[in-house]
């Protein structure tokens, strides 16, 4: 049974789509068309906008001092937010998969709330909570910690909007992990820590990494939620999306697209790298 669900042996292996469902060519064609229309075309449009600039102009725009400062703020905040999400998300997924408790379904549904909520609403709510007169802000102020209208606020907004990525990528993998492996390890005298490190973690690691990477790239582009809590001080708490927004306000579409292309390329490279790494890791893990 476990072999079947683990996918190591299956009569459908090879080219499952082709054998089970007819119309492979048609569905593949529709998929490609769809990807082209909703993904590739807008991306091309973005690049076309920047094509009107010379290399020097392009380089000048994307290496502007204030824009570079915004990269740093954005990268740092997204990094911390996605690391936090890696830990918190793993914990949440673990609790949701391995324990039974009242209200579990409700919590499971609530996890997706940041996806469903308009990001501006999230931003305003978080700013209200974390401002010095807000519920959390009051308590944190006594500890001397300021969150709203500081770079820390950016981290909070980013981690809020991208937490579901980690939970939702780790959860299914955790559900599919055969409990027998853990039981076998325990019966052979492995400590809890060893079970986690040697049995669980290697299987979870790729999913966790791609969840964290998705959370990171989502944070790079976050605008609505961040803008209301960041304070937007030049060089201190301005994110790259705001730089794009400012260029648009100046009717300077070329410069806006140029900065946007930096974010786009960074995200693409990261996602591609994670995918390649994951494929290699999985091959090694399964000894193929």
């Amino acid at each position: 049974m476990s072999e079947l669900s683990g996918g190591r042996w299956s009569p459908l292996r090879g080219n499952p789509g082709k054998r089970v469902l007819p119309g492979f060519a048609l569905s593949m064609g529709i998929s490609l068309l769809f990807i082209s229309l909703i993904l590739l075309l807008p991306v091309t449009g973005l690049l076309v906008q920047t094509a009107g600039m010379s290399w020097e102009q392009y380089w000048g725009v994307i290496t502007d001092e204030r824009v570079v400062a915004s990269y740093k703020v954005t990268l740092w905040a997204a990094g911390i937010a996605s690391l936090f999400n890696g830990i918190a998300g793993l914990l949440l997924a673990w609790v949701l998969v391995r324990y039974e408790f009242p209200g579990k379904r409700l919590i499971d549904a609530l996890i997706d709330l940041p996806f469903a909520l308009p990001t501006a609403v999230a931003g305003i709510t978080l700013a209200a909570l974390f401002a010095e007169n807000g519920w959390y802000g009051q308590l944190l102020a006594e500890l001397g910690i300021k969150v709203a209208f500081t770079p820390l606020g950016i981290v909070v907004a980013m981690s809020f909007t991208s937490l579901p990525f980690v939970v939702r990528t780790v959860q299914p993998v955790l559900e599919d992990l055969p409990v027998e492996d853990e039981e076998a390890a325990i019966s052979m005298g492995a400590s809890d820590l060893a079970v986690f490190r040697r049995i669980l973690f290697p299987s979870l690691w790729p999913a966790l990494m791609s969840g964290v990477a998705l959370s990171f790239t989502r944070s790079l582009g976050e605008f609505g939620a961040v803008i209301f809590i960041a304070g937007n001080m030049p060089y201190v708490s301005e994110i790259t999306s705001l730089m794009i927004f400012i260029r648009l306000q100046e009717f300077d579409y070329g410069a806006a697209s140029a900065i946007a292309s930096v974010v786009l390329i960074a995200s693409l490279v990261l996602l591609l790298a994670i995918n390649l790494w994951q494929a290699r890791y999985l091959r090694r893990l399964h000894g193929r």
Binding site: V48, E132, F149, G231, P234, F245, I246, F251, A255
Partner: protein, 339 residues
């Protein structure tokens, strides 16, 4: 080949703007229709004015009129018209956003400001201060805003016309105070910007930060907005009008290209001209904007204290120069904010 994605995006934008801006069209058909493209916080003002004008128009011509409103940040609103939204009239809070309708697409003539009285600005306002009850930091004028113990809230001049007006008001004050001493002017502005606690992207955002979040000692925004907030609160805030400030004009014009096609030239002109009538001016003053009509001015004298109002010409030459020298990328504002 190069045009197609842009065109697609443009059409999408137009479609979205039209559907979101117009809302639900009324079921009863009027004799005529008019679309007014306006700025964000003018909803209540024009909802009232439209009723007044519709009544006036029916008395004058016997025709019923349905006036549709579209509100948004006025730069975005202008963009939608350039991209094809056929609004009959615009009522904006920034001259530059009307100018662009001439520059891109040539939808109106270059001399549009001469078509209506007072440079096509039926009402005006200025930038004023809102402080917390009792004015604990004793903020009276622009020089108080650079004190070490004062922190201020204003929208980002890079993203908001409101913020640009405040920047220009501070610049005007500095020019009057320090004369030709450019270094002193720059230092003043640098300290002024350095005291800002939060840069929200728009005027209403700044209001929220000051009122709801309790950030800052003073909020800088339109006098009209400041008065509205003070009137709605239970004495938690008070208005301070500085001795000198910026003349913020609210330009209006009809879009020649649209009114020709929509055959609304007469009603569009009448709609804007009626803004200057005594009744309309009284209504506008009730929304805390300053007006030109002498009778109405006298009635509202105690609400609008006297101050020296500096037009853009006195501060930066004209709007185009102000935009390129101060607000464009790498301009004065960027230099002042550099660490």
């Amino acid at each position: 080949m190069l045009q197609s994605p842009r065109k697609l995006i443009k059409q999408l934008v137009v479609a979205l703007t039209v559907t979101s801006g117009l809302g639900v069209a009324s079921a009863q058909a009027a004799d005529q229709e008019l679309l007014n493209s306006s700025y964000d916080i003018a909803r209540e003002l024009f909802a009232s004015y439209n009723e007044l004008f519709a009544e006036h128009w029916q008395q004058e011509t016997g025709k019923t009129i349905e006036i549709n409103q579209s509100h948004g940040g006025s730069s975005k609103q202008a963009q939608a018209i350039i991209q094809g939204l056929r609004a009959d009239v615009v009522t904006y809070n920034q001259v530059t956003d009307v100018d662009i309708l001439h520059e891109r697409g040539n939808l109106i003539p270059a001399d549009w400001r001469e078509r209506l009285p007072n440079a096509s600005s039926p009402y005006y306002s200025t930038m004023a201060f809102l402080v917390r009850a009792g004015n604990p930091k004793n903020i009276q004028n622009w020089d108080d805003l650079v004190r070490d113990d004062v922190s201020s809230v204003l929208p980002n001049p890079k993203t908001s016309g409101n913020g640009r007006y405040t920047y220009l008001a501070a610049l005007g004050y500095a020019q009057k105070t320090f004369g030709d001493d450019q270094e002193a002017i720059d230092n003043y502005l640098r300290e002024f910007l350095g005291n800002v606690a939060v840069f929200d992207t728009g005027g209403r955002g700044a209001t929220t930060t000051f009122v709801e979040r309790g950030i800052g000692d003073v909020l800088l925004t339109f006098e009209s907005e400041v008065n509205n907030i003070a009137a709605q609160s239970d004495g938690e805030y008070q208005v301070v009008v500085p001795k000198v400030s910026f003349l913020a004009e609210f330009p209006v014009t009809w879009i020649d290209r649209s009114v020709e096609r929509n055959e609304t030239t007469d009603v569009a002109k009448a709609y804007l001209e009626y803004l200057y009538s005594e009744e309309a001016q009284r209504l506008i003053a009730g929304f805390n904007y300053r007006v030109h009509d002498e009778t109405v001015k006298a009635e509202f004298a105690d609400r609008f204290p006297e101050l020296e109002l500096l037009p853009i010409e006195a501060i930066a030459g004209d709007w185009k120069t102000a935009m390129t020298e101060h607000f464009a990328s790498g301009g004065k504002l960027d230099q002042l904010q550099r660490r």
